[in-house]
């Protein structure tokens, strides 16, 4: 097992697998033992339908995600493009892809 996850550093490629694992850890942190999940967290798992996440729990999850990945992930702009139904229908994979694309799109700053 790898050690505790840490913030990505410049030049490091962030894979969907890594973000998925991070999201899994955050979910457990936010929801605790009460998490509804038969089997591993998958890209097509939906927050509302499958995980039965309360909306206030999704807020907490998004926040921890931002703390983990920092300002390079412009969550506000992304959420602003979505309508209520889109947010309710969000899947794990959509969030993972958004994070991966955000981190890939921005140069490391050096």
């Amino acid at each position: 097992m790898p050690g505790p996850s840490s913030s990505p550093t410049v030049g490091e490629e962030i894979t969907a697998e890594a973000v998925l694992a991070e999201l899994d850890a955050i979910l457990t942190e936010v929801v605790g033992d009460d998490l509804l999940l038969d089997g591993p967290l998958a890209m097509d798992t939906s927050f509302d339908e499958d995980l039965q996440l309360e909306s206030i729990e999704f807020v907490a999850l998004a926040e921890k995600l931002l703390i983990t990945y920092g300002e390079r992930v412009d969550f506000v702009a992304w959420m602003a493009t979505m309508e209520l139904d889109d947010i309710i229908a969000l899947t794990v994979g959509q969030v993972v892809d958004f994070v991966v694309e955000s981190l890939a799109a921005v140069p490391g700053g050096g």
């Binding site: 039965q52 309360e54 909306s55 926040e63 506000v76 959420m79």
Partner: protein, 272 residues
């Protein structure tokens, strides 16, 4: 979860700030970097509601234009739930304490949904110098018999005293998030002074004293449409819109429309 201590309680807050960040400018001279962004605070409704109803609807688009502050009202969401202190005035005291905590001394644009609407109105009445405008969605406020009505509508929402209705409702909605919400809401109603405090509210007789620009929007099928007419008649210059076919759940039923109106309102009132 960011929590801040204000007015003796621990509040769950979310601050959203989007749009072009400083330092990313490509040197274009017309970027109005010196123009201050409007400050917006959004107040949600009662018991089953929390800041997520804003977070899921208009908070993010608004955060591209303004600094948006959300918080769970006392007793709600992830804010502390004291045994008592649920009057409108105490909610106003909370808002004042939070504005102080955030260091906001300029007038803010208040967005109030349902019960958040009456807190916003009362804030504008008690502290007019701190309120730039009011955007009210299905605002509830005390008229004659208000306490009975609030308690009645809470019971109708199946969290109240009608045991059969609660059981039926839970059976139909026996999924995780709703049953958790129902349990928390029942605790809120049974173990705090919320209902007593609301029933003790006096009818508002100061609407004519509201001095800031005010927009009110209600659904044509709302059970509190009389409040819309009262706002229009009494609040000076109040603009009223009635959305055909919508109910008291206007924010979620018509979130796109509310989003458009909210962005237009901020652009207009900030310019003025």
């Amino acid at each position: 979860m960011p929590h801040v201590q204000a007015n003796g309680l621990s509040f769950h807050v979310q601050e959203l700030r989007g749009g072009p960040s400083e330092g990313t400018s490509n040197g274009s001279s017309d970027s109005p970097a010196a123009v201050a962004r409007p400050k917006v605070v959004m107040l949600h409704g009662l018991v089953i509601d929390n800041l997520s109803s804003w977070y899921y609807t208009i908070a993010h688009p608004m955060a591209l234009e303004a600094d948006v502050h959300l918080y769970d009202l006392r007793g709600h969401g992830r804010t502390e739930q004291p045994a008592s202190g649920y009057s409108v005035d105490e909610n106003v005291d909370d808002l004042v304490a939070l504005l102080d905590h955030w260091g906001i001394d300029e007038p803010v644009h208040l967005f109030g949904n349902s019960f958040g609407g009456v807190v916003s109105l009362a804030m504008a009445h008690r502290h007019p110098e701190r309120v730039a405008s009011l955007f009210l969605i299905e605002a509830h406020f005390a008229v004659e018999g208000w306490g009975e009505h609030m308690a009645g509508s809470l019971a109708l929402a199946a969290f109240g005293l009608d045991e059969d209705a609660v059981q039926d409702w839970l059976a139909e909605n026996a999924d995780r998030k709703l049953s958790r919400l129902a349990k928390r809401s029942e605790r809120f109603l049974m173990e705090t002074s919320l209902i007593d405090d609301l029933q003790a509210e006096k009818p508002i007789d100061w609407l004519a004293e509201i001095a800031c620009p005010t927009f009110a929007i209600y659904g044509s099928e709302s059970d509190i449409l009389d409040r819309a007419r009262e706002l229009e008649a009494k609040v000076p210059g109040c603009e009223l819109e009635i959305v055909p076919g919508s109910s008291h759940s206007l924010l979620t039923e018509e979130s796109n429309l509310i989003r458009e109106r909210a962005l237009a309102w901020i652009a207009r009132t900030q310019r003025g």
